[in-house]
């Protein structure tokens, strides 16, 4: 079995950089656009003391520039405490709803929040842009574009199958819009709020009684997925040397059996939740429960019991791939998705997701012996490689925002067939309909890294706030956040469980911001004035 592991090791290194790039790119784009918006619309200069927006975060104390520092600090602390308390309550509410299996409600709520954010807040931002730039667009054109944008965004979250690029783009848009609105908060409140959210994230995910951890455990034990807004990067292919035909992966393919409602929706949750990073990946072999029909009639049903290893992994692709190192390969048969889809079995709550085929046809895999392969002509099973996911959630300020942790589970299955080890990883997607809290974009059994939308939002808020002060601080914070993200990914690979994405990056970013503001700026300005460097 050295060969598979050797191959796997080589392929892990090959793909790791690309996986990281695929998650860092959207985060960077989000931050860049938020900074651009903040610079163009420039709320800090135009808003005076009396026009600060009233939100949950400013309910207690409205910051005014004339107050003393101590008043501002205590006021900001109170605001942040209220906000965190609100988020906690909402998260527990989400856990309760999820526990009572009100998944449909959660999904509808998620879609509704997406619509509110895209239509009202997004429209507000566009109007600000038009007014600031005096862009001569007429109301008919604007109306058509605005209407289209919102409707397509809503569709991309409520339907199961969408272009991956479109779903990712809309998640980034929502992140940008919510982050911009967060940047409108008064300054002290913003910083204290960021710190409070980072601490909350840490506790909620790692402490045994924390709401996000409860949610993760619930979803793992039930093998359901939480509907939430979650950004999932496209999985990276790792062509091994022995794969003649490469691998096939069915992304987001799932059949929800027995639920009857809209099948296997991706249940993109809306909303921003707390930036929790939850990474889960499948660690071993589990029993896969799979049921499929052949053709239009159920002639044969295969049932593989897959026990899921309830392991939440927060690791990068490398560790996952190492566990995966075994051969995934099945016959090269095309898995007929429609056949796998059968929703008529009430007891099957599973949705068979994609398995990835990792082998060519050259193997001596016998079809008859394998309990997983059923249909002769159209079943195609692919084994999946490991995947790492981060899930996070963020909380938005709009009335009903809640935080929602994302959980992603993978089921692995391995069976020994003679000398060959096959692993089938199947991800179950529950029939999630609504997400009360925000995010969880459920992307099927793929290996992409998942990052919660809350992480996007709070990173962008930090960078946007720094940009409102000075660009040097903004660059420093950007580098700090990306470094923090890298550290979190490494920790994920190391610990192999769900991890919060906010704390490391936010704390690094804040430290860098204050250091830049206090120390670096004075140094650079003096050097420039005296014409030494810069």
């Amino acid at each position: 079995m050295e060969n598979p592991s050797q191959r796997t090791r080589a392929s892990i290194i090959d793909g790791l950089g690309e996986e990281i790039i695929r998650i860092v790119t959207p985060v960077s784009i989000c931050m860049f656009l938020v900074v651009l918006l903040v610079c163009i619309i420039n709320p800090s200069s135009s808003s005076d003391d009396s026009s600060s927006i009233t939100t949950i975060a400013t309910i207690i104390y409205d910051e005014k520039t004339s107050d003393s520092d101590w008043t501002k600090l205590t006021g900001a602390l109170l605001n942040a405490l209220v906000f965190v308390a609100f988020v906690t309550v909402v998260t527990f509410l989400l856990v309760l709803l999820f526990y009572c299996r009100c998944i449909k409600f959660l999904k509808y709520y998620m879609v509704f929040s997406a619509f509110v954010v895209l239509f009202f807040m997004g429209g507000g931002i566009s109007l600000f842009l038009i007014q600031t730039l005096s862009f001569p667009i007429d109301c008919i054109t604007f109306g058509v574009l605005w209407f289209n944008f919102s409707i397509v965004g809503v569709l991309s979250f409520s339907m199961e199958k969408n272009p991956i690029f479109i779903t990712q783009s809309y998640l980034v848009f929502i992140g940008i819009i919510v982050a911009y609105w967060f940047c409108l908060l008064p300054e002290w409140t913003t910083w204290v709020l960021l710190i409070a959210m980072a601490v909350y994230d840490l506790f909620a995910v790692l402490v045994p009684g924390g709401p996000l951890r409860l949610l993760v455990e619930l979803s793992v034990s039930r093998d359901e997925e939480i509907p939430a807004l979650l950004y999932e990067a496209r999985p990276v292919e790792f062509p091994g040397p022995d794969q003649v035909n490469g691998r096939r992966r069915l992304w987001r393919e799932r059949e929800i059996l027995g639920s009857g409602s809209d099948s296997g929706s991706t249940s993109n949750g809306l909303g921003s939740a707390l930036g929790n990073l939850v990474a889960s990946s499948d660690h071993g072999v589990n029993i896969l429960n799979l049921q499929s029909h052949m053709g239009t009639e159920s002639q044969r049903e295969t049932k593989l019991v897959v026990a899921e290893e309830t392991q939440l992994i927060g690791g990068s692709g490398s560790s996952i791939k190492s566990t995966l190192g075994k051969l995934l390969a099945l016959e090269n048969r095309r898995a007929n998705v429609s056949e796998l889809n059968l929703g008529s079995e009430p007891e099957m709550d599973l949705s068979l997701i994609s398995v990835e085929d990792g082998r060519s046809t050259g193997d001596s895999v016998t079809e008859t012996g394998s309990p997983t392969i059923q249909d002769s002509s159209s079943r195609y099973l692919e084994t999946m490689e490991t995947h790492v996911e981060f899930t996070g959630n963020s909380v938005t300020e709009i009335g009903s925002e809640e935080s929602r942790p994302l959980i992603d589970r993978r089921i692995g299955f391995s069976s020994n067939r003679g000398s060959e080890t096959m692993e089938i990883h199947v991800e179950r997607r529950p029939n999630l309909t609504e997400v009360q809290q925000n995010e969880a974009m459920e992307i099927g059994s793929s290996r992409g890294i998942k990052l919660g939308l809350g992480d996007f939002i709070f990173y962008s808020v930090l960078v946007g706030r720094a940009a409102m002060y000075d660009f040097m601080a903004m660059y420093a914070c950007y580098l700090a956040i990306i470094a923090g993200l890298g550290v979190t990914l490494m920790l994920l690979a190391f610990y192999q469980k769900a991890l919060p994405a906010l704390p490391v990056s936010i704390l690094l970013g804040i430290v860098f911001y204050f250091l830049t503001r206090l120390l670096l700026e004075g140094f650079v300005v003096q050097c420039s004035l005296n014409l030494i460097i810069f």
Binding site: S134, I140, P163, W251, R252, R333
Partner: protein, 138 residues
């Protein structure tokens, strides 16, 4: 068995984002390749989006043509999908041309062409008139 493997691979890697190489002769109609829809679902999807696009939603047509880009580039396959995707692409192109013509006329012509009605139609005045941005007090 529609196309050879090599040709499919070429099409897949060149045409879209799907990365897998098909070991079978089936080809994927969506731009996501392996991760996208298969043919039966794709037909339903394409049909629904084509019809929904007539409700002043040209972006759905764009989505259709973007998602099923391999169908457009490979003219020989997917006979069931092709009319919908082609219709969506043409509809989107026509709509965008009309919209751009109108928007450019409005922007470039300005008051000279339209007269005082221009001030009533332009968006930032409309926003001020209806107080669309005052809810945020910005």
């Amino acid at each position: 068995m529609e196309e050879g493997e090599a040709e499919e691979r070429r099409h897949l890697t060149a045409g879209g984002e799907g990365r897998g190489h098909l070991s079978l002769s089936t080809s994927w109609p969506t731009v996501d390749g392996l991760l996208g829809l298969d043919e039966e679902d794709a037909v339903k999807y394409a049909r629904n989006f084509f019809r929904a696009g007539f409700f002043l939603l040209p972006f759905l047509w764009f989505l259709n043509s973007f998602y099923f880009w391999p169908v457009l580039t490979r003219s020989s396959s997917f006979p069931r999908l092709r009319p919908y995707v082609l219709g969506s692409a043409i509809g989107f192109a026509v709509f965008m041309v009309l919209l751009c013509l109108w928007a450019l006329t409005f922007a470039i012509g300005g008051e000279r062409l339209f007269g005082p009605i221009w001030q009533h139609l332009v968006m930032y005045n409309v926003a001020n008139t209806f107080g669309l941005t005052s809810w945020s007090q910005m």
